[in-house]
């Protein structure tokens, strides 16, 4: 039986539909990220689980018990907030101890647990400091320890890293994952950063305009996005709007160029499809003597180089389509800016989505509440 279940959660704020039927079920000890652009409803979903907001419809179940109408201070949820939320009048130790004092635990037991938790988040030495004497990363570590102190049923994290700088962010997210695995605590994590979500989750749910577009493991989300929105949102995608020409051979036509794609086999002729190609799958070659290029290729000119470390990302402007291609940095010298190139689209490994669905445009962007 799943440990945490959300059934058909709905929530409106005036005319804005924040949640339009959310269903999630999570086993005990699993880590689920709610990922989406701001205004997609992910924070609203988390706040409903925490009890700070009531849904208009649907229910929140933990371990089979309906908590939808239970007030937040009786839910035993550990929450880490986006804004720094430590009580400024208390030291790190007193902050962590707060939940235990509310629970009237014995003084000795409290002290022991506080010390353990501060040790766990790597701040055993900083217990006597006040929040304003701690860096942002340290404050969020204390906030994590404070949330864990009460042995919550579910750990809720609302973009806990977004106020931190890049290096601390990566370091702390790995530690959140380590602690979560070590304690085996069921965790809901809200973020708009796809890299963050993919790197630390068991499951990722991509949300858009109040709905879950797709839910799956990080590799499923990256490798086989189910909707154009997910494809666009997770990683970078080249999108080729095309028409199926020959379903038997897998031929499609994109802006006058014929391409053969394995995924197009069995499609009906004339169907409008979206071909999705990851930048690392495109193979670039200098186009010799202005020739249109070989099989399965799109022509263009190198516009920019963006150095990303071991790979370099190239923007290619074509007559019809602009492409993004990732090339090993060692090869970039052979592909200078301004060079006419052809980009070979591999037949295998390319995703194809029917274009009857919702277009993957930017959704409305109300406040992320």
């Amino acid at each position: 039986m799943p440990y945490l279940e959300l059934h058909g959660l709905r929530r409106r704020f005036g005319p804005v539909v924040a949640l339009d039927g959310i269903d999630v079920s999570l086993e005990a000890g699993e880590f689920l990220s709610l990922l989406g652009p701001s205004g997609c409803g992910k924070t609203t979903a988390l706040r409903i689980v925490a009890g700070f907001d009531r849904p208009d419809g649907g229910s929140v179940l933990i371990d089979g018990k309906d908590l939808t109408r239970v007030s937040p201070n009786r839910r035993d949820m550990g929450m880490v907030f986006q804004a720094y939320s430590l009580f400024p009048n208390m030291t790190a130790e007193q902050n962590v101890e707060f939940g235990l004092r509310i629970r009237k635990n014995k003084r000795g037991a409290r002290r022991k647990r506080v010390a353990e938790l501060l040790e766990l988040v790597g701040l055993g030495h900083a217990g006597k400091r006040y929040p304003h004497q701690l860096s942002g990363g340290m404050q969020q570590r204390v906030a994590l320890a404070r949330a864990l102190a009460i042995e919550p049923r579910v750990l809720l994290l609302d973009e806990p890293l977004s106020a931190l700088d890049a290096k601390v962010r990566v370091q702390l997210r790995e530690e959140i994952r380590r602690i979560q695995t070590q304690l085996g605590i069921t965790t809901l994590y809200v973020t708009h950063d796809q890299e963050e979500a993919l790197s630390i989750s068991d499951h990722v749910a991509v949300m858009w305009s109040g709905r879950i577009e797709q839910i799956g493991s990080p590799s499923e989300m990256y490798g086989s996005p189910a909707t154009p929105f997910v494809a666009e949102f997770i990683g970078t995608m080249n999108r080729l709007e095309s028409v199926v020409v020959d379903g038997a051979r897998g031929d499609i036509e994109h802006a006058g160029t014929r391409l053969t794609i394995d995924a197009a086999r069995g499609r009906t002729k004339g169907e409008r499809v979206l071909v999705l190609v990851r930048p690392e799958l495109l193979e670039l070659e200098p186009s010799g003597d202005g020739a249109a290029g070989g099989e399965n290729s799109l022509a263009g000119t190198v516009l920019t180089h963006t150095f990303l470390g071991s790979i370099t990302r190239l923007k290619i402007v074509g007559p019809e389509t602009d492409l993004t291609a990732d090339v090993p940095t060692a090869r970039v010298a052979a592909l200078p800016i301004g060079l006419p190139v052809v980009a070979r689209v591999p037949a295998a490994g390319t995703r194809l989505l029917s274009l009857g669905e919702k277009p993957a445009s930017e959704g409305p962007d109300p406040d992320d509440r």
């Binding site: 700070f52 804004a83 720094y84 009048n89 707060f98």
Partner: protein, 265 residues
């Protein structure tokens, strides 16, 4: 360490400004030290007369207790209100701000006439007693000072996040208010309280027109007959307010500064 250089022009201005404040005080002091018999300096007779006047002790005690009562009522009334408005009804903030301006705009003379009429039928334990009628009027008078102090205090903390953090850890509303919110707006509440103290200790119009004998009406009474004693009294009341402000400074410093709470939303 590098010595800081002060421009001669700045010193001149400092002296002028200090003189502006100090000369009246010194003059009052010298005046209060004159002897009643000889009209010459120096005698502490005025001070000793005041200190031995039981009316002095009676009125100053009344005014002091009144100000404590006003502070207590104001805090009990406004801390939860301002907290709730910040948390749940932020749209009411301008309304409260406007209401808080009313006691500034309405002259005390109009206020007291209105209040006297309004409470005319009230029971005598309220209407005839300073701790009833006068305290009520003073709560109204102190409203702007208390409100704007508290409002600034609540604006300097992230009320939403602190409240939600406290609740998610299991705290009830009362615990959240007393253990989390109050300690973090303490300085603001103290500021409002000392302003209230200063107002009540010096309020004359309402007390006089509703015929109560408070400290300011006592000063006025003395002033009509005994000028030297009145000067001594003025200095004493000045010292009281000064002591209150110093107390605020020390109490406010006795704790680490509250952290900057980032409001990222």
């Amino acid at each position: 360490m590098r010595r800081r250089w002060i421009a001669p022009g700045a010193i001149v201005w400092l002296v002028v400004a200090a003189a502006f404040f100090l000369i009246p005080l010194i003059a009052t002091l010298l005046f209060s030290l004159r002897s009643i018999q000889t009209n010459k300096c120096c005698s502490s007779a005025a001070y000793s007369l005041i200190i031995h006047d039981h009316q002095f002790w009676h009125t100053i005690r009344l005014s002091f207790v009144l100000s404590l009562e006003t502070i207590a009522i104001s805090l009990l009334l406004f801390v939860p209100t301002v907290y709730w408005v910040h948390l749940k009804l932020p749209r009411l903030r301008p309304v409260l701000g406007f209401m808080a301006l009313v006691p500034f705009v309405v002259p005390p003379i109009i206020l007291v006439v209105g209040l006297l009429n309004l409470y005319k039928g009230a029971p005598s334990w309220f209407y005839d007693k300073p701790y009833g009628f006068l305290a009520t009027a003073y709560v109204i008078l102190a409203f702007p000072y208390m409100y704007f102090s508290l409002d600034a205090g609540f604006r300097s903390i992230d009320v939403h996040t602190l409240t939600e953090a406290s609740q998610s850890l299991g705290a009830s509303w009362r615990t959240t208010l007393t253990r989390v919110i109050l300690p973090n707006i303490r300085v603001a509440a103290l500021g409002g309280s000392f302003l209230t103290l200063a107002i009540v200790m010096g309020e004359f119009t309402i007390a006089s027109l509703s015929t109560f004998k408070t400290f300011p009406t006592y000063i006025q009474f003395v002033n009509e007959t005994q000028p030297y004693e009145a000067a001594a009294l003025s200095l004493l009341s000045f010292l009281i307010v000064w002591a209150a402000m110093l107390a605020l400074l020390f109490v406010g410093r006795g704790r680490p500064r509250p952290a900057q709470v980032a409001a990222t939303r």
